[in-house]
Amino acid sequence: MRISTSQIFETSLRAMQRQQQGIEKSQSQLSSGQKVQKPSDDPIGIGRTLNLENQMSSLEQYERNAQRAKSTLGLQEQTLANVGDSILRLRELALQGGSPANDTRERTMLAGEVKAQINILMGLVNTRDDTGEYVFAGTRDDVPPFVVNAQGDVEYQGSPTARQLALNDTTTVQTRDPGDQLFLDGESNVFAAANELRQLLEGSDPNIVPELEQVLVRLGKSQEVLNAQRASIGNRLGQIELTDDFNADMKLQLKQVLSDTRDADYLEAISLFNQQVTALEAIQKTFMQVSQLSILRFFQ
């Protein structure tokens, strides 16, 4: 077959250009470390990559949520433990108050300590977290949830609604509990019991043992509510831990899949690059020789 001179040059030129395009692509893969440079490189892969990246971002957000939930609940748990100590102390005081050996001075002293414990309790139930919000106020967490009213009773002015935080797409956890059910609920009202204890100790009735026993029963009930709440918080912390672990596993998996779909395989990329360079050199060499093939050379 006849071949035209310009065709000889054209063919070699095209072959070189094709190789150079390949080399350019390999080079950008190697320098960026990413297999997919633009959507057309892997249309399905890039859609998946974007979804995975967003999922990853969600998981990171849920991790932050879990962290916050943990710290809020941890603070609640810590506070409740302190409240528990306070109630224990109140029970001791009630027991001591019942001793027939007590004289007025000792009972006044005991009453004084009960009062101090009430103050401590007031401080505890009005605990604030690092953002300055009250942890036992439900969703109305910008004002002290527990206040003493004109009658001297402790009143709840927080919200009856608890606050939830999302741990993943489907699970939420309660992080801010309304405190009225914990400290002011009927029989288990710790402040009412403590106040009664104080009044009994301050009173002049020499035999207050039956009343003190009643107070002890009520303090016991407060303790029960408290324990139940601590158990509930424990459960929630456990749930957070579990979800968090699960999220962490998911993240690890996502990272793996993401890396598989997005990241360049260096070994493969380098070997491809070398192949392309070799091919280009071969074409260049043959071109050099072919381009010198002219009959004119022999007439010079």
Binding site: M1, R2, I3, S4, T5, S6, Q7, E10, T11, R14, Q37, K38, P39, S40, D41, D42, P43, I44, I46, G47, R48, L50, N51, E53, N54, S57, S58, Q61, Y62, R64, N65, R68, T131, E133, A137, G138, T139, R140, D141, D142, S159, T161, R163, Q164, L165, A166, D169, T172, R176, S294, I295, L296, F299
Partner: protein
């Protein structure tokens, strides 16, 4: 001997011609489209001498152009395909690159935006969290708008290229016609010679033309090439070419068409390859669908977020305001519309919206709405119900109050509002004239239609049919008022010169639409407050009333008269359409740029939900209860808290019911405790959008007060609801999450770009093969030319030798004489 000399001279001239042609070939070795030429010689007729024939040498027979006509045709076809793919590929590669850059990752921006709602849920009162949410929303909008802008820019660029391309076609067609003219002239003069170089030149132009638009070429006997485009329309005929021009299409000014100047309105429908086809395909298959898809996605995000946001309350306890501001899509009236109709389109439910352009066409009685992407359509009676009687915002003003239809059909109401206007202005002199009353059916007496003047029932005769005259007569019976009727409209005058209240209610009134209330405050302008109370359209009201300062939107039903497709509602805003009129709307294209944040104050983000407080007012003795969890309604917010609900056995036209009062508004709702059982009875207050369950038996004048509980700053319930939108399938026609829809969009761009590049490669290979084939047969090979040159040189030398021999022979002869 003279024969020999002649033979030599002829051979010499032949050799010269051959060398010239070789030189021509060599010098054109790099000329594009050049076909190698070869000299043809033929033997001269011999001379008979006796029984023998004596050769007379060779004569120059012409120059052959080594071109293969059928290959040229094929190459033109491949050129059309390649140019088309090249055009598409060029644009798509740019979009591909754009989408790949991190700055345009809208899916990521959506993700960050929803992460910010999670942060808000963690600390709902936190100013930094609130500010961050606004910041992310802003970033999302600007990112979407910049990508949308690039798409729009590419469409502009594409249209410019379309115009340029048509100009090129005209230039090329002109050139071909001129060459035809010259070729015809030259071919005609000598029988078997052709102007080879002109043919090459014409082939080149034809190939270039094929790159712009698909062409069919027919070679004529006289040497001219006729060119046809589209469906056999003639572009070049002999030495004449027809001019193409670019026009905008009547239904879409952005869509360009090419057509012949001498037969306007007839567009080239079948571009059949070339740059033009590439541009058209790119626009229809990639640019528009892509941009629409993004636009619809952004509308989906904005409306879903707005809807959820409206369900909450902000830090001040105010119902969640509009978060994203969305414009109604722009409507393109067809340039050929003969009627005066003005169509309005609102997006009511973007989750149903498809990435398509939509058309509304009027056939004289019905409208047909078509989703142009796939041609599916619905028809309805839009035109028959509201043609010609629409009302636009700003049409009416009264005492500084602007009344206008916000959306939907409001013919019935609008007509009445219109008729009220003269009356209302005249009313400043305590005479109310021109109140329009149509005939009202009052089968059940005042329960159907109740008119009160200063709180007193107008006792028109009923049941039956009451006319405006009946009502006027009844008013004349009331002490201190006089009334008359002018042109079917009611005039009322109060004798003592003070203001009066006119109130229209009842079930009949509700369907008709209007209730007028004057204000009790004499300092205010008479009729300073107009309330349009109906279950109809959305009307804008505002003005002097302190409770309704500024503009207020009331949602009223459309009575099923506006209708729509894919979540779009079409309504006639005004004018009269005529048969054949049409309108088009492209919601995905026209809304992204107008998207904006409606909230600037971070405290207005509604992270909390409203809690209701329902208490018995003092003096209540009955057992009526309303549970807050059983009070529902899309608009249960208490902008004018509190709302009191008072039971009276004669509250509603002498029957038991509730007197419901909030702010300066009061309505009466029938409620019969006798028909209520222990499960309670459902009661509706349409004006508030409330539904609640009333239980128990109230005593006379028992009252409940519904108010909003104090705002809990730590309430994050609505923030959680906002955050949960992220994982809901609210995009892609309810199939995908927002972020997934963006990923799918990116994939679709990738597929298109990849396909274009693969197609381009395939077509280019085909073209190159064909070109190589042609080039190999018609291109110049220098080695060949060099060897020819040597041959022709020797030919020349030999011919010269012939002359020399002839000369020598002649000299010998002369000298021997």
């Amino acid at each position: 001997m003279s024969g020999l000399l002649r033979l030599g001279a002829q051979a010499l001239s032949n050799a010269q011609q051959a060398i010239n042609t070789t030189g021509h070939n060599i010098s054109n070795v790099s000329t594009e489209g050049y076909s190698r030429q070869t000299v043809r010689f033929e033997t001269q007729s011999p001379v008979q001498r006796g029984s023998s024939f004596i050769g007379q040498g060779a004569r120059f027979a012409g120059i052959t152009r080594n071109a293969e006509a059928y290959m040229s045709g094929q190459i033109r076809q491949f050129s059309s395909s390649v140019a088309r793919m090249e055009t598409e590929n060029g644009y798509l590669a740019r979009i591909d690159q754009l989408i790949a850059s991190a700055g345009s990752n809208i899916g990521g921006a959506i993700q960050s935006f929803f992460n910010a709602t999670q942060e808000l849920a963690s600390n709902p009162a936190g100013f930094p969290e609130r500010q961050a949410l606004l910041g992310q929303a802003d970033a999302l909008l600007s990112q979407a708008q910049s990508v949308d802008g690039v798409f729009s820019g590419l469409r502009d660029e594409l249209n410019t290229q379309f115009r340029n391309s048509v100009a090129d076609i005209n230039r090329l067609a002109d050139g071909i016609a001129m060459l035809n003219n010259r070729i015809q002239a030259l071919s005609g003069s000598s029988t078997n010679s052709q102007p080879n170089d002109l043919l090459d030149q014409r082939d080149r132009l034809l190939k270039e033309l094929a790159g712009k638009i698909g062409i069919q070429v027919v070679l004529r006997d006289d040497g001219a090439a006729d060119v046809f485009v589209s469906q056999g329309q003639s572009l070049v005929q002999g030495s004449r070419s027809r001019e193409l021009e670019v026009t905008s299409s009547a239904n879409d000014p952005d869509l360009l068409n090419a057509g012949f100047q001498d037969s306007p309105q007839q567009y080239l429908t079948d571009l059949d390859g070339g740059e033009l086809q590439g541009l058209r395909d790119l626009r229809e298959r990639s640019l528009l669908p892509g941009q629409r898809r993004l636009g619809v996605l952004m509308m989906n995000v904005a409306t879903a977020f707005n809807a959820a946001h409206a369900q909450g309350i902000d830090l001040a306890g105010v119902p969640g305001a509009e978060f994203f501001r969305l414009d109604s899509p722009a409507v393109d009236g067809n340039a050929d519309n003969a009627g005066s109709g003005v169509l309005g389109v609102t997006v009511q439910d973007p989750s149903q919206l498809r990435p398509s352009r939509y058309r509304a066409a009027f056939d004289g009685t019905h409208w047909t709405l078509t989703r142009l992407a796939d041609g599916s359509s619905v028809s309805g009676g839009l035109g028959s119900t509201i043609s010609g009687a629409g009302l636009a915002a700003g049409d009416l003003t009264l005492n500084g109050i602007d009344i206008g239809v916000v959306a939907g059909d409001a013919k019935a109401i609008a007509t009445r509002v219109t008729n009220l206007v003269p009356g209302v202005t005249a009313a400043a002199t305590n005479t109310q004239t021109g109140i329009a009353f149509t005939t009202v059916t009052v089968a059940n007496g005042p329960a159907d239609y109740l008119l009160k003047l200063d709180g007193n029932v107008v006792n028109y005769s009923g049941p039956g049919t009451a006319t405006v005259e009946d009502i006027s007569a009844a008013i004349n019976q009331m002490a201190g008022y006089s009334s008359s009727v002018t042109n079917g409209k009611l005039n009322i005058t109060k004798a003592d010169g003070s203001n009066f209240t006119l109130e229209e209610s009842g079930t009949q009134a509700n369907t008709q639409g209007i209730s007028l209330l004057t204000t009790a405050n004499p300092d205010e302008t008479f009729f300073g407050r107009v309330e349009i109370r109906s279950t109809g359209q959305a009307l804008v009201i505002g003005g002097a009333d302190p409770g309704k300062a500024g503009l207020t939107t009331l949602a009223l039903n459309d009575g099923g008269q506006a209708f729509g497709i894919d979540g779009l509602k079409f309504s006639l805003l005004g004018g009269t359409p005529t048969i054949g009129d049409s309108f088009e709307v492209d919601p995905g294209l026209s809304t992204t740029q107008a998207l904006d944040l409606a909230i600037n104050d971070a405290n207005r983000i509604a992270a909390a939900k409203l809690d209701l407080k329902i208490v018995d007012l003092p003096g209540t003795t009955g057992t009526l209860t309303i549970n807050d969890s059983e009070l529902t309604g899309s608009d249960k917010f208490l902008a004018e808290s509190p709302v009191t609900i008072t039971y009276t056995s004669t509250a509603v036209w002498g029957s038991p019911g509730f007197h419901v009062v909030w702010g300066t508004t009061s309505v009466r709702i029938p409620y019969n405790p006798a028909s209520s059982d222990r499960n309670g009875k459902l009661v509706s207050i349409p004006e508030l959008g409330w539904n609640f369950v009333a239980k128990g038996v109230p005593s006379e004048s028992d009252a409940l007060q519904v108010s909003s509980a104090p705002v809990a700053r730590g309430d994050n319930r609505n923030a959680l609801a906002l955050a949960a939108l992220r994982q809901a399938p609210l995009a892609g026609n309810g199939q995908r999450r927002f972020t997934e829809e963006y990923s799918a969009f990116v994939s679709s761009i990738g597929v298109a770009a990849r396909q274009a590049s693969t197609n381009l490669e395939t077509e280019t290979n085909l073209l190159q093969q064909a070109e190589a084939y042609l080039e190999n047969s018609s291109g110049v090979n220098l080695d060949e030319e060099f060897s020819n040159m040597l041959r022709f040189q020797q030919f020349y030398q030999a011919s010269a030798q012939l002359i020399k021999v002839a000369d020598t022979l002649f000299q010998s002869l002369i000298s021997s004489l």
